[in-house]
Symmetry: C2
Subunit: 229 residues, 2 copies
DNA sequence: GGTACGATTTGACCCAGGTCAACGAGGTGC
DNA sequence: GCACCTCGTTGACCTGGGTCAAATCGTACC
């Protein structure tokens, strides 16, 4: 829980230092324990969140309990879209988590006053939309093996970009989370991982995997695939 | 092919009449025959399109030919996100189609100069994202029957909103398109429709259906579901 | 150490939906 | 009319992944 990590959405050369200072003023750091809910679908979106430390799962629930995990958020990710009036999905902590919260009213005023920030938001949303569409492609057309393999590849690409990649790739989420992300059952995820291990593509270790070489399946080559919301 | 239909994104009370006039100046009307491609995934997004008349299917292809239909666009829909540099999916006409094209450079300049329009774009993208996430929920968790039923309900809600709903609901797209939209095979779509007809929920007619009462399955109740891009 | 409890793996079986193939209903051109 | 072609339907069969149940592993707490 070291230093405050700011949403990358607001970082980079394009962001005015003055605006950044203003933003920092709006942000407060919050901590959540494992399994705690940051916000739930349907909640008034009276504030916006950036993830500083830890991993968060974003998901939707059906009345009968079925769940679709939309994404796993990593440090730097922004949660949800500012300016929406209600959250369209739930978010809860996987392990310990630190987030920075932006109070809604102030953030809204700030965004509306800055064309610069609005442009970044449009680009942000465009990227999210693109990723959601890649995910649709995967859910609609992938076999269990393709789904799991692509999930692993994309997960370690993301960790790599954050320099959080050691020899072994950590998988902090439960099998059930992966299953709900990929539209599979947890037994199938487990079996598929075992199958990949037999093929010498990965090696399973407690709370992680070791990638020893991932075959290129048709879906893997499909551009981007960097699920992060 | 009557009058020019303008993207609803740019309509409504919030849009300044002066800006609207400017936009109209940027738009040119184009016509495409059945099956013609308006743009393809990966193309330079040097212009943006609004659909005036007809139906368009938006989709992604895999190298091996598998296809995911992302949405069926109806008149008033905007195709793709402005400001992106490349199209992230393909679009082609189902039947005869009229679109208005906005030249990219001019549109970009116009958007960047209008905070008003940028805000609308953010809201637009937020809605699209929300819809994509509902679609993920459906693809990941729905049975064939749920998928088809929800598709029908949502399709006729959209037609209803456009007052394009007569006694019988037109289904201008092929079974294969519906299948690729729902992550099913065309035989399954056909069988499922037949099953729904046996249950007296619908009646099949050439190029359409007659809804005689659609049961509320868990997924149907899941808010919104107004696929349109 | 030992016990308890949740997460994961593994096995045996089943079924929704995929696959393959035949058939039928409209169109269209000659 | 007839040949041809595409789209849709239907049937028979198969299989990938779901379901149910029983180990096994890991970790935390006595």
């Amino acid at each position: 829980m070291r230093r405050a990590f700011f949403p990358t959405l607001f970082c980079g050369e394009a962001c005015d230092p003055l605006e950044l200072r203003e933003l920092r003023r709006l942000a407060t750091q919050l901590y959540f324990g494992a399994g705690k809910t940051i916000f739930a679908e349907g909640d008034l979106a009276d504030s916006a969140f950036g993830l500083s430390q830890g991993v968060i799962r974003l998901y939707k629930l059906l009345p009968d309990g079925r769940r679709q995990v939309l994404a796993f958020a990593l440090p730097g990710d922004f949660l949800g879209m500012p300016l929406a009036d209600r959250h369209s999905f739930s978010a809860d902590a996987i392990g310990e988590v630190a987030v920075c919260r932006f109070s809604g009213a102030d953030l809204t005023k700030f965004i509306r006053s800055s064309p610069n920030i609005m442009l970044r938001l449009i680009e942000f949303a465009t990227r999210k939309l693109d990723m959601a569409q890649d995910q649709l492609l995967l859910l609609g057309n992938g076999s269990a093996e393709e789904k799991v393999a692509i999930f692993l590849v994309s997960w370690c690409n993301r960790l790599g970009r954050l320099s959080m990649l050691s020899e072994t790739v950590p998988l902090p989420m439960r099998r059930q989370d992966i299953a709900d992300f990929l539209g599979l059952k947890l037994e199938t995820v487990s079996r598929t991982l075992a199958k990949l291990e037999q093929k010498k593509v990965i090696r399973l270790v407690p709370n992680g995997v070791l990638l020893t070489g991932l075959a290129q399946t048709p879906l893997v080559t499909s551009r981007s695939h960097q699920p992060q919301i």
